[in-house]
Amino acid sequence: MKLELRNITKRFGQLTANDHISLVAKPGKIHALVGENGAGKSTLMNVLFGLYQADEGEILLDDVVQQFSGPGDAMAAGIGMVHQHFMLIPVFTVAENVMLGHEQTTRGGRLDIEAARQLVLDVSSRFGFDIDPDALVGDLPVGVQQRVEIIKALARDAQVLIFDEPTAVLTPQETDELMVIMKQLRDSGTAIIFITHKLREVREVADEITVIRLGKVVGEASPTATNTELAEMMVGRAVQLKVDKGPAKLGADALVVESLTVLDPTGMAVVNDVSFTIRAGEIVCIAGVQGNGQTELTEAIMGLAHHVSGSISLDGESLVGKSVRHILDAGVGFVPEDRTEDGLVGSFTIAENLMLDRSHGAPFVRAGALQLKTLTEFATETSKEFDVRSQGITSKASQLSGGNQQKIVLARELSRDLKLFVAAQPTRGIDVGSIEFVHKRIVQTRDSGIPVLVVSSELDEVVALADRIAVMYRGRIVGIVPADTPRAVLGLMMAGEVPAGVAA
């Protein structure tokens, strides 16, 4: 089935998320839709899938204009979607998730679970998946959950399949497997729309490429285009994909973590016997697929985790069991992985956000009263230094773009006297320009002799920033390797395998 979008326009208030976008997806082809975060890719797909209604434009299937008032209509017309955030119910089984929305029933209205199980097994066997239809989805690894999403779409005979940023949560190996599946689907005649911002993947599978920027189609590219060409189309100017950094000037051991174990409330060891050392003036990156204990590791360092055993010491001072306040005062700067949830208060101004973790005394608070003049001066100066683009320091943080929000968090943390800097997913969901800036500041921090711990699930970022790389898998550090380790080796380590010759 051929899918065509004509002049799709979608506005949210003042913002035009999609501005007259047109594209054609043909059967047996993979059409890549690339663009930066916030370029309007997901909005476009939600329009196509009936979740949003377009303000202008039309959707055609095999040259027939379609009217979708909801996802049910889109599915009935043969469009399936593999969502970036899986649309699966964790407490349901695989079979229940697949049958939801078009349930078959037997006598007395009883759900026909057996038919759904059979359907799951049929579709699985066609693509060589090994999936237990009775497993609870919440218990499955993310890679398998994604296959459940694919099965869900195929079980409804989808002729057009949309993959919305499908590789964001996968290991490199799982990504390769997904590419194989996509090619298999293409060869069986399905039209595929593949949304991503990872250029390597585009060049590997795409037959056609459409690039969008700020809600508009900026051009089409052939799969033979280079990374740099594609990146320039996405960003609209020349970009530097490599981080400029000199050799590290290593000092003494600064952060020493020994046999650190963190338990979750059920007694699972989410961080399991982890030991590593960061020297002054060094960047250590924790690589790994999200959800392998990185979050809990940073929380343990910041004193946010419960049930922590083992030792963490910074310049000889133990941090385990200390309060968050104490740890901040000890000179630890922290960029949390979810900036809107943990890094900022959205309804506060830029200035207020800049003093969030310094509300305990001078210079911003004296005798219990805020020193607004000091704060204004400080905020004006740091916003300029960190290139926070806004209407002014009294703008609300929630009104800024992700990149500018992240710069505020960075400004707040780096403007204190630090002895350790911890940045979790520092560039997640921000634009290329801001990424360059954040990376530059992290390297500057290192060069000023501060030990830096970066947690990232983007392998490109890890390779670009790190002086040494520690790979985490299921709560353990699989190995600590030099920054020039081949990606293939890192990929294997992210899947939990310890290549021979690597010190675990």
Partner: protein, 421 residues
């Protein structure tokens, strides 16, 4: 790179000492009260009513002997529970139930010393007090499973009680009264559903406001209208007791479960139907999906708003039946504030029952038992001060919900409004 190994994850067990400590406290209490403060000689337990076909003999339990026996047994179970916790296991549910049962035997023997306790009467009262709680809890479960927190159970019960009394009196038919109670509960739900689903108002606030509104409205109408025309407006006919042949002759449970009114039999059916339908039918699957992950439900073509709206309405109708039981099943006339917090205890039963119809029914029975124990003991004149006994149902509720539930997980999206863009 040829040789590879995979690290193994391990689970470290967190020990929970909640159960053994609670057991220990109750064992000490039982030692002090049942043995040291023991005054009477023996307690007479009657197991049959006079109208029973099969007569069971009454049992005389010696007060001191029972106290010592029960305390020893409780002590043994406490030790066993410490043993379980030390090994990182939780105390099994049968042990908690047995502990409760024996403590209750000890307590009744002590409290009823030198008197006589009619066991079927105690249980009959338990069922009676539990009926509104069970209907309320079912309403709560359906509503929360679909993602709308139902604080308004109290209001739904009260509205059902008020309207059913009036309609049944005016029409002379308790059946019409029952139907009107369902309508009244549903109307309260419509307000809850409209504000929470359509206008995205905080569900807890709407629920609380609805409770206050229904309370104020019924109290006002009662004192201004009903109490002045009691004969015309507030003397509803009650449902007749129906004895089920054979079943009602079973000793102890026969008179308790099968010599009841229509509303009680309706309760058995509705609990069974909801328990089945929630987990085995299309309706239940869709309802639960909307309460867990509304966006996922939306992407497979389920209308989230309509599903929420109509199921909250259904929840109100079921809670309304519970309200009708107050007037058409037990008391026989509407009184001001007659639900007296039953809606909130029903809410506790929802949580204690982990959003499961059968478990919540059992929880409601436990709370009903605690309330009725207070009634029975104040009649036979127990040594416990009556003010303390009045606290009992609420104390049991707090302990049950806070102590033994631990970490329970409700529907993930309960309380969260769903919007698309």
């Amino acid at each position: 790179m040829s040789q590879t190994t995979t690290p193994v994850t391990s689970t470290v067990v967190l020990k929970s000492w909640k159960a053994p400590i609670a057991f220990g406290i109750f064992t000490v209490v039982s030692f002090v009260i049942f043995i040291l403060l023991n005054t009477g000689a023996s307690t007479n337990f009657r197991l049959s009513t006079e109208s029973d076909f099969i007569q069971l003999p009454a049992i005389d339990l010696p007060a001191l002997g029972t106290g010592i026996f029960v305390t020893a047994l409780l002590f043994a179970m406490t030790v066993l529970s410490f043993f379980f916790s030390n090994k990182g296991k939780s105390s099994p549910i049968w042990m908690i139930s047995a502990f409760g049962f024996f403590f209750m035997v000890g307590f009744l023997t002590w409290a009823g010393a030198d008197g006589s306790i009619l066991i079927p009467g105690l249980l009959l009262g338990t069922v009676g007090l539990s009926i509104p709680l069970i209907f309320g809890a079912l309403g709560g479960i359906i509503s929360e499973r679909v993602g709308v927190i139902n604080i308004a159970i109290e209001g739904q019960l009260l509205a059902g009680a008020f309207v059913s009394a009036m309609v049944a009196t005016l029409t002379g038919s308790p059946y019409l009264g029952l139907v009107s109670a369902m309508v009244a509960g549903m109307l309260v739900s419509f307000v809850l559903a409209t504000f929470s689903v359509k206008y995205l108002v905080d569900q807890v606030i709407v629920g609380v406001v609805l409770n206050v509104l229904v309370l104020g409205l019924t109290s006002f109408l009662y004192s201004q209208v009903l109490s002045k025309n009691t004969a015309v407006l507030n003397s509803p006919p009650r449902f007749d007791r129906i004895d089920i042949p054979v079943l009602s002759q079973i000793p102890i449970i026969g008179p308790v479960l099968f010599r009841q009114t229509l509303i009680v039999y309706l309760m058995y059916i509705i609990v069974a139907v909801v328990a089945y339908a929630l987990f085995k039918t299309k309706w239940g699957l869709r309802l639960r999906s909307v309460g867990e992950h509304p966006m996922a439900a939306d992407t497979v073509g389920i209308n989230v708003a309509a599903t929420r709206f109509w199921n909250v309405a259904l929840a109100g109708a079921i809670a309304g039946i519970g309200g009708a039981y107050f007037t058409l099943g037990s008391v026989g006339a509407f009184q001001k504030e007659m639900t007296a917090g039953a809606g909130f205890i029903a809410l506790a039963a929802v949580i204690f029952g982990r959003w499961d119809p059968i478990r919540a029914t059992l929880a409601a029975l436990l709370f009903g038992f605690a309330s009725n124990l207070q009634n029975v003991l104040s009649i036979i004149g127990s040594p416990v001060p009556s003010e303390f006994m009045l606290m009992l149902p609420y104390v049991v509720t707090i302990f049950a919900v806070a102590g033994f539930v631990g970490r329970v997980r409700g529907p993930a999206a309960a309380g969260k409004p769903y919007t698309k863009s």
